[in-house]
Symmetry: C2
Subunit: 299 residues, 2 copies
Amino acid sequence: MRIRAALPRLAALLTAAAAAHAAPAVKPLTPGGILAQAPAADWQAIDPADLLVLDFAGGRRAVIQLAPAFAPVHVANIRALARARFYDGLVIERVQDDYVTQLGDPTGQKPLPKGVVAHPPAEFDRPAPGVRLDLLPYADTYAPEVGFSGGWPTAKGEGRAWLTHCYGMAGVGRDLNPDTGSGAELYAVIGHSPRALDRNIALIGRVLEGMDYLAALPRGPGEQGFYADARMRVPVLHARIAADLPEAQRPRFQLLKADSATYKAWARLKANRQDDFFLHGAGALDLCNALPPLRKSGR
Amino acid sequence: MRIRAALPRLAALLTAAAAAHAAPAVKPLTPGGILAQAPAADWQAIDPADLLVLDFAGGRRAVIQLAPAFAPVHVANIRALARARFYDGLVIERVQDDYVTQLGDPTGQKPLPKGVVAHPPAEFDRPAPGVRLDLLPYADTYAPEVGFSGGWPTAKGEGRAWLTHCYGMAGVGRDLNPDTGSGAELYAVIGHSPRALDRNIALIGRVLEGMDYLAALPRGPGEQGFYADARMRVPVLHARIAADLPEAQRPRFQLLKADSATYKAWARLKANRQDDFFLHGAGALDLCNALPPLRKSGR
């Protein structure tokens, strides 16, 4: 018993190794095991024009995959802002527990570069026809239909389709007026998915790298988590579109295709875990627990 | 425009003040505004026998409300472990992004004190009859019915009722065998709610204070977030049941009663925000976004 107790208890959850330790004869399939067997064709390389690379003081990095299909004007703005070096010198100014980490200009005085649309349209949702969904076959609290469109967590209803506020999704801060989110302020979701924000603010992408950093920053004091004390703020050293970096310096990611056999097997197993740890399969998987896995890739 | 841009953009979300700034004539009701008007009778003081107070190196504290109605043997164990000073000297040994922060004994060698049930029953769910739910009237992905039982996020189905893995809920780590979670290891959920764990592991409470600390700890390297480097581990200085502390030192909390008129108005407004920021009411609220608000209270 004391030897078993030396095992990290919750660790047993995810490791096929631990499962094998208990039942060496039969190795139950795990979600990770399914990914390891995925054929190369089930992975989709991400266009470097769609990757915003943010380097922070202290050698930390965040990489956001942009979603031009859902927020084309906002994404064009973000590319233009990065190319004009607008983000360089901006700071993480807000970390609110169970909600968002937010980047911006606390003074609000930095002028937008030429070519940036100061009042973009409200790209909070779009017409549903034409948006193909790989449906998740489970009920969603917030929308009649949910699934993945080009790998993006997407909901449909009332003739519209929209990206959803899952952990790790990134959006554009705005004022009260819907057209005030130029892209000058960006946020990432760091808590239980605040889906009530869906259709109220432009989501522009998903953080592929750096959530372990963005979500672990000290929470700002006060209700909304702003860093009133300027010493808490973390500067952006430079923000670049990966396509603008020399080839050798570009981060590279692959996303598991949500319409692939591998993804379907992975999601089915996530909904009905068979590892020895699990006594009771959930029989379901919610949208924000089903985001397509990703991996870094070589050149 | 540049003056408006000086406002923190996303900040507009939660402040009635900001809403009032844009529309001084009519002040839209906010969830916070509803709480401010709650009569005292709508708040429920939490029994100090149900509060586990964990003090960490660095002056940080976490307070967990225990759930004896759902996990009586586990909660009795935790009280006994605290009273035997078992947790003192244990460490936070694991922080996995979008998942859990976990406390335990990395060596697994610390003997359980007398009176602690080494192999507690699987208090992962309980018979549904007798569990009164204040139902949330929205679909849930994982269960036929969800709501709050004595303030606890609870799901029902298949004749059973169980606590759910929401952000901030706390559970007992275990090995592969279901009866190996003595209470010697505790975890808190720090990401999007991993509901697939429901009914597979004993939830024993909710973190009422200190999530801003537990969720902001550096993520451990590697797949499961364990701190292999002992220098990353954060010691528990002492863990006590609040009732065992001198009266003047007890932390005190009140939870908004989930069957109160105030809670119902608050949840209805969370599902249908009317602040100026919101263009589109969600029309729904999921269980883990609906946890009853709490407040610290005086003596």
